[in-house]
């Protein structure tokens, strides 16, 4: 019975300027303490704790002056996931409440539509953005990219037509006890076997010497794990931008219900060991876990990498890669320069000059797929127009009053 007045009141509060002020004030505090904590826990983890959470707690560092007792007083702050949506809601409701069709406040609508676009655009980016990389030697070519964060379990087999048959399964979907039926659409029976997942480790410590110091061997019978008597222990995430978690799994390969063997697969093997192989019925298969590989319908060849320096110094003035893009399907072919601040945008992916190695003969591109990349550009223009509009109006009034 009192629901309606309460609801009205709530709506009014949610759309009030008072709430905007509080939310903005709290976000300043949140950003400040989040930045401060980056020194302790790094950018990535601070992002999780402060900007991508509902409640964040900051504690006074122990090694600061007076830290011995000040560290017991927690600073509780609303997290980014609480402030962000509330601000968006506040913005929409306030507009519904205060909006009038008048020229003098037109800019305000522009500003807020732009802000809303920025918030939503960032959400879209968070959900849909894919970040991969591509390493190329001068003269080398590739038709695939590797993921920075994702891993996949895979089986491969040389087909009769000379091409490679690939079955891949995202690591994040691997579940303990699951049985995978490797089927590739359009090519039934390429992999006449099943894979049973025995163990999954989001991050692991792998060492020689078998089951010692808390490590287990998990009954591995074949491949690298058996050969080197490797022991595995589950550990927590590194939470680091520099170091990838060591994703690992133990799998059984089954053929017609019979266990062929048990393998240890891990994303750190690829760099160190040859591929693990096995044979069933005279056919050779490869098995493993790797940084997720995405195949592209086009090939990129690195023609030349340049590392320019200022004369007489080692200060880099530019990094640039001359590449050729060849599209197998539509026959498109072109040569492009990729250099700092000038990426290549091609088929929804953007290639950035990111790194180099091997005495300036190898080049790395960061490859980003972000369907929302244009949103900030539009939002920026909208907000700028709005702000200029509003301040011109205010400035005009002010100078008239001053005179």
């Amino acid at each position: 019975m009192h629901i309606l007045p309460f609801f009205k009141r709530l709506l009014k509060e949610l759309g009030s300027l008072r709430l905007s002020v509080f939310l903005l004030g709290f976000s300043v505090l949140l950003v400040f303490f989040g930045t401060l904590d980056q020194v302790r826990i790094g950018i990535r983890q601070a992002q999780d704790i402060y900007f991508e959470s509902f409640i964040a707690i900051w504690r006074y560092p122990e090694f600061w002056p007076g830290g011995n007792f000040l560290r017991f007083i927690p600073v509780v702050l609303p997290g980014g996931y609480l402030i962000g949506p509330l601000l968006a809601l506040n913005l929409v409701l306030a507009h519904a409440r205060y909006w009038r069709p008048r020229w003098s406040i037109m800019g305000i609508s522009f500003i807020h539509v732009g802000i809303l676009m920025l918030l939503v655009g960032q959400l879209v980016t968070n959900i849909f953005q894919e970040e991969d990389y591509m390493w190329l030697d001068e003269g080398g070519k590739a038709n695939f990219i590797r993921s920075f964060h994702e891993d996949e379990f895979y089986l491969t087999k040389q087909k009769e037509d000379g091409r490679l048959g690939v079955f891949s399964y995202d690591f994040k979907d691997l579940a303990k006890g699951a049985v995978l039926e490797p089927e590739i659409p359009g090519q039934p029976g390429l992999f006449p076997l099943q894979v049973r997942v025995r163990e999954v480790f989001n991050n692991a410590e792998i060492n020689q010497g078998g089951a010692v110091m808390g490590r287990e061997t998990y009954g591995i019978t074949r491949g690298i794990g058996a050969q080197f008597n490797l022991g595995v222990k589950a550990i927590g995430s590194f939470n680091s931008d520099e170091r990838r978690d060591i994703r690992t799994a133990v799998v059984d390969v089954l053929s017609e219900g019979e266990v062929v063997g048990t393998w240890l697969v891990s994303n750190v093997f690829e760099e160190r060991f040859p591929e693990q192989e096995f044979m069933i019925d005279g056919q050779t298969y490869q098995i493993g876990l790797r940084f997720k590989k995405t195949y592209l319908p086009y090939t990129i060849t690195l023609l030349e990498f340049n590392h320019d320096r200022y004369p007489g110094t080692n200060i880099p003035s530019n990094f640039s890669s001359r590449v050729r893009v060849e599209h197998a399907v539509n026959g498109d072919e072109k040569e492009v320069m990729i250099f700092m601040n000038n990426p290549l945008r091609y088929e929804g992916r953007t290639y950035y000059q990111a790194s180099f190695a091997k005495q300036d003969t190898a080049s790395m591109f960061q490859v980003v797929k972000n369907p929302g990349w244009l949103v900030p550009y539009i939002a920026c223009i909208l907000v700028s127009i709005g702000l200029c509009w509003q301040f011109t109006v205010a400035g005009y009034r002010m100078t008239r009053r001053m005179k």
């Binding site: 905007s20 002020v21 980056q38 200022y310 200060i315 960061q366 980003v368 920026c380």
Partner: protein
């Protein structure tokens, strides 16, 4: 009386301005000035030798000139002032004299103890003073912690001293090697003989490697030439390319069969300098300068940079801003008509010199005005002064002038201290090497800083002015004009901070593939945007009035200082290009002063006069 006052004010102003005018009306024609204007390549860019001298001296001594007591041969002492280029000339051509000039600053008591000195007795040491301890310093420097963040004050100090000594040695060997026991020309001729002899032997034996060259003379000369090539200064332009003197000999002698002309001139310079023959030195200096490539062709501006460094326009502007501050206070105390009007005029002159300095920097570097922390400080001040001049133009009450002068003075002071690290016109690293983004993102964000500071300082002036009026209270009209000015500055700040932040995101998207990465510097910029937005919403919603506006703007100072400097001190992320320890102390001092201001205003609120005066 009135005219006497005005005359004194303008005499003072002219005295401040003189350094900018002097090089134009009374150019320095000494041999050192000729060398000083000569272009050389150093640190990846062509600059006048004078600039190299200043930056090297700044690194070693922390100042651009040297004042010291020279001990004469008869036992008496004499006060001397040595300009940077004179010092470098001695280092290059007359090292025996240069080694006696005290340029190495040592403060750390443990290092002084190593030399058997007590702290406080002596601060500056000459190379000759330190030479006996070179091995010791090197030994100590080898033992320090390789991680620069974990070094203690002694380790930092010894590392710095070691670096300075190494730098001095490198620069000192540009023209001739250390421990040379013969005259420079005869050394050069000896090298010619050795190199030609070696070339003949090659030709005779038909071998391409010098393995059977056992002449000890040649080996020594080769060793000395390689030491000379360690210098950072590409002093000569040889066949259209910038070369170090050592390399000119290695490449030039076999080609021409004799000593290259440039080296002959260098020999003459050294001989004349060491023999005290001023005339011959001036002649040789002119000869050497004539080898430099025509300035118009290269697109570099060594002569302009020489003028810029000589005239120090930002220091001149700083002095004028101090004068304006004093004049405004005098105006408020005594006769506004005399002081305020002239303060406004002098402020304009300061602003013009400030602007000229910025323009010269842009022309010399070929980059947008803000390229590093130093130039951002100069630009922040410039923006604040520009905005305040607009305010003052509408209301000649001295408020705008005072705000302009204080922010201008403080930022230029900060800039002056930031320039200790050497060349402030350095070339930009690859990612930053983009004039488009430097002139959009960096400029807008810096304008945002300037405007936020202006708002904060207007707030402080409001409070001070209010207290100054005491029980009488501030007139309503005055309060309103403060309100409007702060509001205007905040609006300006929001506009530029927001646009700058988003442009930064777009730049990051262009070069790294991410729009927003929670990098400390990005967060700092975001805090300014959020804070100014909060102030505007609070005003609009009627949650605050003038008093709230004033105090929140002062907090804006705290946030801007954090965003500008604090985030760089964290040592996290992509923008940590200028880590500074001592600056952290000053940041804390600044923060404390701002909060103290707000606290005091809360204890002793500014009174307002109820009825409008008149």
């Amino acid at each position: 009386m009135k005219w006497a006052g005005i005359s004194i004010i303008w005499l003072l102003a002219l005295y401040c301005i003189w350094p900018v005018v002097q090089p134009l009306v009374k150019p320095d024609t000494s041999a050192e000035a000729v060398l000083g204007q000569m272009p050389v390549l150093e640190g990846g860019r062509v600059k006048p030798l004078d600039a190299v001298a200043r930056h090297t001296l700044l690194l070693i001594r922390g100042k651009q000139s040297i004042k010291y007591k020279a001990e004469l041969e008869d036992g008496t002492t004499e006060r001397r002032k040595v300009e940077a280029i004179t010092w470098l000339t001695e280092v290059l051509f007359n090292r025996q004299e240069a080694d006696k000039i005290p340029v190495f600053r040592i403060d750390h008591p443990d290092i002084l103890g190593m030399f058997g000195l007590e702290a406080g007795t002596k601060k500056y040491f000459s190379y000759a003073d330190l030479e006996p301890y070179l091995m010791k310093v090197q030994e100590q420097a080898r033992q320090i912690n390789p991680d620069s963040k974990q070094r203690n004050s002694y380790e930092t100090a010894i590392n710095q001293l070691y670096g300075n000594l190494a730098l001095y040695q490198m620069v000192a060997q540009t023209v001739y090697p250390l421990r040379l026991r013969q005259s420079v020309p005869s050394f050069y001729n000896g090298v010619v003989n050795s190199v030609m002899e070696a070339a003949n032997q090659f030709a005779a034996s038909g071998q391409s490697t010098p393995q059977n060259l056992d002449s000890p003379m040649l080996r020594m000369h080769m060793q000395q030439l390689s030491e000379m090539s360690r210098t950072t200064i590409f002093l000569l332009n040889y066949n259209g390319e910038w070369k170090k003197p050592g390399d000119v000999m290695v490449e030039g002698i076999p080609m021409s069969g004799g000593l290259p002309e440039q080296m002959v001139t260098l020999g003459k310079l050294a001989q004349a300098r060491q023999g005290g023959d001023t005339e011959a030195f001036a002649e040789a200096a002119a000869e050497l300068a004539a080898f430099a490539p025509a300035v118009a062709k290269t697109g570099e501006h060594p002569v302009m940079e020489f003028y810029f460094n000589q005239s120090q326009p930002f220091i001149v502007a700083l002095a004028l801003y101090v004068l304006v501050t004093v004049l405004v206070f005098l105006g408020w105390l005594f006769t506004p008509t005399v002081f305020l009007a002239n303060a406004y005029r002098i402020l304009w002159i300061g602003f013009i010199i400030h602007t000229v300095g910025l323009v010269l920097r842009v022309i010399i570097t070929g980059y947008a005005p803000v390229t590093n922390l130093y130039s951002s400080a100069v630009f922040v001040g410039w923006v604040a002064v520009l905005l305040s001049l607009i305010f003052e133009h509408f209301q000649r009450k001295g408020v705008g002038s005072l705000a302009a002068a204080t922010v201008g003075f403080l930022t230029l002071l900060v800039a002056h201290h930031l320039s200790d690290t050497g060349d402030t016109m350095e070339k930009m690293r690859a990612v930053l090497n983009s004039n488009f983004w430097l002139s959009t993102h960096v400029i807008t964000i810096t304008m945002g800083y300037g405007a936020t500071f202006l708002a904060g300082f207007l707030g402080i002036i409001y409070t001070l002015n209010g207290w100054f009026r005491g029980r009488n209270g501030m007139p309503k009209e005055m309060q309103q004009s403060f309100h409007r000015m702060i509001y205007g500055a905040i609006c300006f700040s929001l506009l530029f901070s927001f646009v700058g932040t988003v442009l930064g995101g777009i730049w990051a998207d262009q070069s790294w593939g991410r729009f927003w990465g929670w990098d400390p510097k990005e967060n700092g910029a975001l805090m300014i945007v959020l804070w100014t937005a909060m102030i505007l919403h609070a005003l609009r919603g009627g949650l605050i009035k003038t008093r709230g506006l004033v105090n929140l703007s002062i907090v804006g100072n705290v946030i801007t200082a954090w965003s500008w400097f604090g985030t760089n001190m964290l040592g996290v992320g992509l923008h940590s290009y200028g880590f500074m320890d001592s600056a952290f102390f000053w940041l804390l001092v600044f923060w404390f002063s701002q909060f103290a201001m707000i606290f005091l205003e809360w204890l002793f609120p500014v009174r307002l006069r109820k009825e409008i005066a008149g």
